[in-house]
């Protein structure tokens, strides 16, 4: 049992880190733009497929695919913002319309990936050497440790960006009060485009990491990550990036430890039970602040 618990803790941290990244980009988007990106999981899986295409087509290892994904997805996100988001402003209820629009985008994105890569599960046949590293009595996959390291670096970089740089502070300010920062002279359209591009880039990078940690993915895997992202966002507090990072780790740990003590099939139930409990007892999420009317 001791070994199982240790494994559960190690995996919980690694898987939780990935969940945190999946959630943080979605919450950033929601916080700044009030856009419910239902296609978030497809953006993530598109990152996995980019890594797959680079590896199988050009022999580029997944680690080198990370900066490529960041740049490519940032550019795609920037373009996508100007194609999609301004139309939402014309709607009476942009938040609801964003949900419907991105639901359509998710179907289109999955269909496009299906067209390009087929329906089969894909994986990247590239492993680190050594394949795993002994940590005390347990073995942890090198790929997972690398992914954990990158997740930690990305999280710290994101925190630094949000709290120490002017654009980051502007983003946080936009999350807190979108109207007020416009009065202060901030170009909200450019800032929103930047937030959309940043969230999309994070999703793409997360997709590459997912290809390392969960080696099989297919065009329809996106929906599962969208659900995870929503759980993490609600747990952490809507629009709170730091809350999402914390919530991802908590969710990952809870899910993994549940499998240690309960049948594997119960793991997801435990995750959802935590979500329901949070909504009941702390509706604003772990780090969310209660909005006052």
């Amino acid at each position: 049992m001791g070994l199982l618990i240790l494994n559960g803790l190690a995996n919980g941290l690694i898987v939780g880190g990935i969940y945190a990244l999946v959630g943080v980009s979605l919450t950033l988007l929601y916080g700044v733009l009030r856009v419910v990106n239902f296609a978030h999981g497809e953006f993530v899986i598109a990152g996995s497929f980019l890594a797959f295409a680079l590896f199988s087509g050009l022999g580029v290892p997944p680690l080198l695919a990370l900066p490529v994904a960041a740049i490519a997805f940032f550019a795609a996100g920037w373009a996508l913002y100007y194609v999609l988001i301004p139309r939402l402003a014309l709607s009476d209820d942009p938040e609801l319309m964003s949900f419907l629009m991105f639901y359509g985008v998710s179907i289109a994105a999955a269909a496009l990936m299906l067209l390009l890569f087929g329906a089969d599960s894909r994986s990247i046949d590239d492993t680190f050497s050594p394949v795993s590293v002994p940590l005390g009595p347990i073995y942890v996959s090198t790929a997972r440790l690398v992914a954990l390291g990158i997740t930690a670096v990305l999280s710290l970089a994101l925190a630094w960006f949000l709290f120490r740089t002017l654009p980051g502070k502007a983003l946080r300010a936009a999350i807190m009060n979108r109207e007020a920062i416009q009065i202060m002279g901030v170009d909200i359209v450019r800032l929103s485009a930047f937030a959309f591009a940043l969230a999309t880039a994070l999703a793409g990078v997360t997709g590459v990491l997912i290809a390392l940690v969960f080696p099989a993915f297919n065009p329809f895997s996106g929906a599962e990550y969208t659900i995870i992202a929503f759980i993490v966002v609600v747990l952490g507090g809507l629009g709170n990036p730091m809350g999402a990072l914390l919530a991802g780790v908590i969710y990952g740990l809870a899910e993994q430890m549940a499998t240690v003590f309960l049948p594997q099939a119960m793991a997801q139930i435990v995750g959802f039970a935590i979500l329901i409990g949070t909504i009941f007892f702390r509706p604003s999420g772990i780090l969310g602040t209660r909005s006052r009317r």
Binding site: S121, T127, S132, F214, E224, Q264, Q268
Partner: protein, 408 residues
């Protein structure tokens, strides 16, 4: 001493005979077989893959002049209608096939869902139904009189070959895990029953939910249960993740069985796929001594000739449908009628007397298929080989498999 016929008389007699025979052949109505095919929706790919198998059989029969029935050769005509993967329209479409198209007998649609919807109609109209891809045991428990699963083994029997192979290898303990969905659950429950029957201890029986991303703890639990062999059953993606996690976590079993372990996408994970056991029906190493229809190689050759632009290569659905056609041909020849009751009688009489591209044939009175077992494969360094059943094995199983630390 016989006297030779004058040359002119001989030619005239021959020409006359050919003309009469041709006239008979033209008069002989083709045997009309109705089936639905999904042109769109969830089952479209598999249904069309199966259709190509059925069309190979039709082409083969007709190129031989047809099926001998009542003293004449009758060609076969496949009457296909679209079911759009929709179980709610399937009964109506089969009704149309029977009432309007006047088909003589029916071929099933793809899969258990659509077949279950079709059978009621064919049964009510006293039409014989050949099933080629429905594995749900529930279909055969309804008391239908005129259904026969010609090639598709029942779901609860699908997991047996692996366990039987491990039984012969001397395995004492197996840990089972499965995705909580009908197909993996039926396969695993059948495999567990077989294990108990063979005196193999089941050390773990755990299911996991769809969407499970990480199998680390599940693998550790299987190891901790003391199992010699681990049999986790799910679809390709989950199995690829498990195969990689086994190596990453350095967890050794004497054998690991992945149902889809010999499929190309699984093999794409490279070294992580090595030494794992699996099962399949169609592989270039699986070659039954066929007594009904074309061999695998001939079927593949015909596929290439008939469908040069097919979007996918022939798969096991193609083989199942082709094999079902080959079996049906034997029923008709045995029964010498298209009457549903007589065909069912013939189907039972032919038990263990037909071997098609997918293996030997045996049904019970419900029409449930007991043979046509999957071959057990192992991914060896030199390639994927058949290791069970012995009559078609191409290599000896490597068991126990080498521990990860001893692999290059």
């Amino acid at each position: 001493m016989t006297k030779a016929l004058p040359r002119r008389t001989l030619i005239a007699a021959t020409v006359g005979t050919i003309a009469v025979r041709r006239a008979w052949a033209e008069d002989a109505k083709p045997i009309r077989i109705g089936m639905t095919v999904s042109s769109t929706g969830t089952f479209a790919l598999a249904a069309q893959s199966g259709l190509r198998g059925a069309e190979i059989w039709v082409d083969d029969v007709n190129s031989r002049g047809g099926i001998a029935l009542g003293g004449t050769k009758r060609k076969v005509e496949l009457v296909k209608l679209d079911d759009r993967s929709d179980k709610t329209i399937v009964p109506k479409v089969y009704e149309t096939l029977i009432k309007d198209e006047k088909v003589d007998l029916c071929f099933g649609p793809f899969g258990s869902t659509l077949t279950a919807a079709a059978v009621n109609t064919t049964e009510t109209n006293n039409k014989f139904m050949v099933i080629w891809s429905a594995s749900a045991d529930s279909i055969y428990a309804q008391g239908y009189k005129y259904v026969v699963s010609a090639t598709q083994q029942a779901g609860t029997l699908l997991g047996r070959p692996g366990v039987k192979a491990f039984g012969e290898l001397g395995v004492k303990k197996i840990a089972f895990a499965y995705l909580d969905e009908p197909f993996p659950a039926a396969l695993t429950n059948g495999a567990m029953d077989e294990a108990k029957k063979l005196g193999i201890e089941v050390t773990m029986d755990e299911k996991f939910a769809k969407g499970t991303k990480d199998f680390n703890i599940l693998i550790q639990k299987a190891k901790a249960s003391g199992a010699d062999v681990f049999m986790p059953t799910a679809y390709e993606g989950d199995q690829m993740t498990m195969a990689r996690q086994l190596r990453e976590m350095n967890v050794d079993f004497k054998g690991v069985y992945f149902v889809y372990g010999s499929q190309p996408q699984f093999l794409a994970i490279g070294k992580d796929a090595l030494y794992h056991f699996s099962q399949t029906l169609l592989h270039d190493r699986i070659n039954w001594k066929v007594t009904g229809g074309l061999t695998r190689a001939q079927m593949m050759e015909r596929y290439a000739k008939l469908f040069p632009k097919a979007p996918y290569p022939a798969d096991f659905q193609t083989a199942l449908a082709y094999g079902a056609g080959a079996v049906l041909e034997q029923f008709i020849q045995e029964a010498q009628t298209l009457d549903a009751a007589k065909l069912k009688e013939a189907a039972l009489k032919l038990n263990n007397k037909i071997v098609t591209v997918t293996g030997p044939y045996e049904i019970d009175a419900t029409g449930k298929q007991f043979k046509n077992e999957f071959a057990v494969m192992q991914n060896l360094p030199e390639g994927v080989e058949v290791v069970y059943p012995p009559e078609i094995a191409t290599a000896k199983a490597v068991y126990p498999i080498p521990p990860y630390k001893d692999r290059k």
